[in-house]
């Protein structure tokens, strides 16, 4: 695929990438940052994409890995902050939760209570519509691991969102 085609397809993917980012971060500003970083990474590592494989899965993997890195960095920052404040308990996580409510309502809250690994599985399969195999490849785990994370995430969401409909 030539650069033009690659860039066209990447551009066409942007709305979906933004949706995935919103689900992962549950915050509009964080999601935009994540998209920006993802597109930068995708353009920089364009040579690593193998023609004949799904471009969308490749870019979702970049986004997912980028978010994991970011989440780890946040955890470290939050811990440092808490240590410095002698356990005052104010970190980025609490702040973010307040914003979630505004962005995605009950769904954002419910997604926010899931562990990261369940949230990404839920997002990839139930929202983004990837098959189990693709979703497992994006996350980089065996398919059985994916389905078990998905199952737990699904149960939790059913409990929380079940009565809403």
């Amino acid at each position: 695929m030539g650069t033009d085609r690659f860039c066209e397809e990447l551009t066409a993917l942007l709305p979906r990438l933004r949706r995935f980012a919103r689900g992962l971060t549950r915050d509009a500003a964080d999601a935009d940052d994540l998209c920006q970083q993802t597109v930068e990474r995708a353009l920089r590592s364009r040579a690593q994409w193998q023609a004949g494989t799904r471009l969308d899965a490749w870019i979702y993997r970049i986004m997912r890995n980028q978010w994991i890195d970011e989440a780890r960095a946040r955890t470290r920052r939050a811990q440092t902050f808490v240590d410095a404040d002698q356990g005052a308990g104010v970190g980025t996580a609490g702040h973010q939760d307040a914003e979630n409510v505004v962005e995605l309502g009950n769904v954002g809250r419910a997604l926010g209570r899931l562990p990261d690994e369940q949230r990404e599985a839920v997002m990839l399969v139930l929202v983004e519509g990837f098959g189990y195999r693709e979703a497992a490849e994006i996350i980089g785990v065996p398919q059985g691991t994916l389905t078990s994370r998905l199952g737990r995430g699904r149960e939790a969401l059913l409990r929380e969102l079940g009565e809403m409909a």
Partner: protein
């Protein structure tokens, strides 16, 4: 017939086909509890989608599309000869033709770029985005090769800078070149001017009496990812200055090319 929650989920997720899918479908038809469970799953999915799908309809931030467009334009130019800054238009017309072709190709594929509004016409977003993607522009360091000389008290461009100002088009996009033209415009007196960005210095140069006089220069600033706002502010300063100097809008691609063909004379 027993159906595990995993099987039921796989059925709802569309992972089962053929006989396996038929078996679950029959079980659901025969068991109201299973059917209720499937319905709950589908409602939950619908709830997720209702919350998240509106993101699909949101306008995509321009930063993103510009970043990708700038990358595509830069690659397209890399495919062309990289001779234009080295050769002059007169001694070697070929690069000019190639650049025009690249520009036409780019416009065909990205009709939205360049946009017609002033602020968009400057391509600042694209330039910043390209800096993000490409990192520091490579190429000869203009200042060390003496791009500027003093001509009767006025700074005029010489060497590589002068040739780049003469030949390069804003519509070329930033490319991997050390010199980028951000926009071209005409002053009140009709002189043609160009906003340029080179590795170390950016500025506005106007063609007068056959020479590119530097009307204004600023340090280009650090074009590294973390500092892109800094680079942007240098450009914004030039934009404001240019807007004050200019008569009307910046040249569109066609007028810019015509002006180049005419040697940037009034």
């Amino acid at each position: 017939m027993s159906v595990t929650p995993e099987e039921l989920a796989a059925y709802v997720d569309g992972e089962l086909t053929g006989v396996a899918a038929d078996r679950i479908a029959q079980a659901i038809a025969a068991d109201p509890q299973l059917a209720a469970r499937v319905e709950a799953e589908q409602r939950m999915r619908a709830t997720l989608k209702r919350a998240l799908d509106p993101v699909l309809a949101e306008p995509v931030p321009e930063d993103l599309t510009l970043m990708i467009a700038a990358f595509a334009a830069a690659e397209a130019e890399d495919d062309m000869t990289d001779a234009p800054v080295i050769a002059t238009a007169k001694s070697s017309p070929a690069p000019v033709v190639d650049l025009a072709a690249a520009r036409a190709r780019h416009e065909r594929q990205h009709p939205a770029l360049p946009a017609r509004r002033w602020t968009k016409r400057w391509g600042i977003g694209a330039a910043i985005a390209a800096s993000l993607v490409l990192g520091l522009a490579v190429g000869p360091q203009l200042l060390s090769r003496g791009p500027v000389r003093d001509q009767g008290g006025t700074l005029v461009a010489s060497g590589t800078l002068a040739r780049g100002l003469e030949i390069r088009l804003a519509a070329d996009g930033p490319g991997g070149q050390s010199l980028k033209i951000l926009a071209s415009f005409q002053k009140d007196d009709g002189d043609f001017c160009r906003i340029f960005e080179a590795e170390k210095t950016s500025g506005i140069a106007c063609k007068q009496d056959g020479a590119w006089r530097l009307e204004r220069t600023v340090a280009t600033g650090t074009r590294q990812e973390t500092d892109y706002r800094q680079a942007g502010s240098a450009q914004a300063e030039l934009l404001n200055a240019a807007q004050a100097m200019a008569k009307g809008d910046p040249l569109d691609a066609e007028r810019e090319r015509a002006a180049r063909a005419n040697g940037w004379t009034k």
